[in-house]
């Protein structure tokens, strides 16, 4: 866009000074962004630096009482990287993210395509329904799903028990979904996908609305089926949207804490992910190990940083082209 504002604003009679003023860096924009930059520096980057420092220290009860922290070099990292338990939580985190992101994108896209097919009123009604899932607080969602998958009297067990035994086997009535990490994560995945697919759905819907309908008509005239149409028209056109949604989903699902904390808690160590492991090391016992917690949090941050680098590139580039 052609910006004519400076030319308009300049009062007449100061033309000579105009050229000089324009070259001088203007302070205004920097004053406007300063508060945000300061807040983010203090509340986001300062803790990040602290995490970096503390991950090389031993910070326990004595240090919290005011004694200087003890430098331990890479001991925290040596300890966690050689601990099979760390790799188990690492595996839980990564596998969960892969499965949950795949399902979120799949279900979200399907719902988005469906919403686009519906009439105006029906579409508004159904998207209202999916937004309810999005607005539900994670704590509430986790409690709902613990209740649905509850051992005694849970709705899911009750339904599974009603199904013929030949289909899925018997003994579902008192099946404990939170006994093994695998089934805990199954419930967690159902819960997290429930909450995150609405966002994908409405974003895909917004994207679909921008695709000219002539393209679909042409495809139909040429005899292209829905599968072919999606991959030849919808996907290429919406690729930037899918990219951003994918990266955002990856980031959210790597960070999942609340739902797992409510569902399986700190006692169930086998089902830990990296966030829960860091939390448990740092505050979970009477003997807090903030250094260890920091080291684990740093590993998680590093993973996210790689994803974020990708994300920022996509986002900023899209902002520019707008």
């Amino acid at each position: 866009m052609l910006d004519t504002a400076p030319a308009v604003r300049k009062p007449p009679g100061r033309k000579a000074a105009g050229a000089r003023i324009r070259r001088r860096p203007r302070l205004g924009p920097y004053l406007l962004i300063a508060p945000t930059v300061i807040v983010i520096a203090l509340l986001m980057f300062w803790p990040m630096v602290q995490i970096g420092i503390m991950s090389f220290q031993k910070v326990g009860n004595r240090q919290l009482r005011g004694e200087p922290a003890e430098q331990v070099g890479t001991e925290n990292f040596d300890k966690i990287l050689s601990d099979p338990f760390f790799w188990q939580t690492f595996r839980n985190t990564v596998l969960f993210a892969v499965v949950a992101v795949t399902l979120t994108m799949l279900v979200g896209t399907l719902v988005g395509l469906l919403l686009n097919k519906l009439g105006k009123r029906m579409s508004a009604f159904v998207s209202g329904g999916v937004m309810i899932a999005w607005a539900t607080p994670p704590v509430t969602a986790a409690i709902i799903f613990s209740w649905l998958f509850g051992t005694t009297g849970g709705l899911v067990n009750w339904c599974l028990d009603l199904l013929p035994d030949a289909l899925i086997g018997g003994g579902w009535a008192d099946h404990n979904w939170f006994a093994t990490p695998l089934s805990t994560y199954t419930v967690l995945t159902v819960c997290v996908v429930w909450q995150s697919c609405p966002f994908v759905a409405v974003s895909v819907l917004a994207g679909l609305k921008s695709v000219p309908s002539e393209l679909y008509e042409a495809a139909r005239v040429d005899g292209s089926g829905p599968w072919r149409t999606f991959w030849s028209i919808t996907y290429p056109l919406l690729k930037p949207i899918f990219m951003v949604l994918l990266v955002m989903s990856v980031i959210w699902d790597f960070k999942v804490f609340t739902q797992l904390f409510i569902m399986s808690g700190l006692a169930n160590r086998d089902a830990f992910n990296l966030s829960l492991y860091a939390f448990s090391e740092a505050f979970g016992s009477l003997n807090p190990k903030l250094g260890m917690g920091s080291a684990i949090a740093l590993v998680l941050t590093m993973i996210l940083l790689v994803v974020t680098a990708l994300y920022v590139r996509v986002m900023v580039r899209q902002g520019e082209t707008k």
């Binding site: 983010i40 899932a133 607080p137 994670p138 009297g153 009750w158 804490f257 998680l300 920022v312």
Partner: protein, 277 residues
């Protein structure tokens, strides 16, 4: 051809039904469980055989302190939203409207921070707040909340502000307004819907926050509603008080759902503007 279109319609109805069940059934089950009598807790009928408000009375029973927790949530989420918007609006205006060096770098840094995992903010901030004795205070929950909410709000507001017709601002300046007046009299009214949407999204995020509120507070009077729910022990204290938790879940969730349904179009526009466009 007729058969195929009938099949299509049937498939799409089935799709709607599946989506509706998956999205609404969990919430429906929560609401319906909340209205059962506590002794009917394990009754799996689709509609309660006897409706009862007992679970809702239990939520507000003396030792839960749930009324106070709701008030705390309103204070924390409200303050976080106001602070975030106050700081964010100016930055977003500059990022969307003005040209300056390092603009993309600043925007990139702001977007990047939305990805920091909560746990890595929590450890140092909890240590700091313990040192300066801020544990069990509102500011210990509001300030980290501000940190988490600000990047996203700035990004959303920037996306909204970019869509504004700034030619109007120039027209106002031609007519003799200063830049500040043009901003106040032309841009602010136009930008209000976007700011409002951002406020809703920020409020929802702050209201739903759990990790910080859980860690910064160990006194019951200072708990927010989400933390209070997770700590319910129920009437009997022996079994898990699902009925009570469901009732509390309904109370915490229903205001958000009303807001979302009333402002659905705005919120969807906000989500897609911030995330996608």
């Amino acid at each position: 051809m007729n058969g195929r279109s009938a099949l299509r319609r049937a498939l799409s109805s089935l799709g709607i039904a599946l989506v509706a069940v998956y999205c609404l059934a969990p919430f429906y089950w929560m609401a319906i469980s909340a209205f059962r009598r506590p002794q009917d807790q394990f009754d799996n009928s689709v509609v309660p055989s006897r409706w009862s408000m007992e679970n809702f009375t239990a939520v507000f029973a003396g030792d839960n302190g749930f009324g106070r927790a709701l008030l705390n949530s309103v204070i924390v989420a409200g303050t976080t939203t106001v602070l975030t918007l106050t700081v964010g609006v100016f930055t977003a205006y500059a990022l969307a409207r003005l040209d300056f060096r390092f603009k993309n770098a600043v925007l990139g840094l702001i977007v990047a921070t939305t990805m920091f995992p909560g746990i890595s903010q929590l450890v140092p901030l909890l240590k700091l707040f313990t040192d300066i004795e801020w544990i069990n205070t509102y500011q210990a929950m509001v300030l980290p909340g501000l940190g988490f909410a600000l990047p996203l709000s700035v990004w959303l507001l920037t996306a909204f502000f970019r869509q504004l017709p700034f030619e109007l601002e120039q027209a106002a300046m031609v007519d003799g307004c200063t830049r500040g007046q043009a901003f106040r009299k032309v841009i602010v009214p136009l930008a209000a819907p976007g700011v409002f949407t951002t406020a809703i999204l920020t409020f929802i995020a702050a209201w739903n926050e759990f990790l910080i509120a859980l860690s910064m507070v160990n006194r019951k009077e200072m708990q927010t509603a989400t933390v209070a729910i997770s700590k319910f022990t129920g009437v009997s204290g022996f079994d898990q008080p699902f009925g009570t938790q469901m009732a509390a879940g309904v109370i915490v969730t229903v205001p958000l759902i009303v807001v979302v349904l009333v402002f659905q179009r705005r919120i969807v526009a906000g989500l897609t503007a911030g995330g996608v466009k």
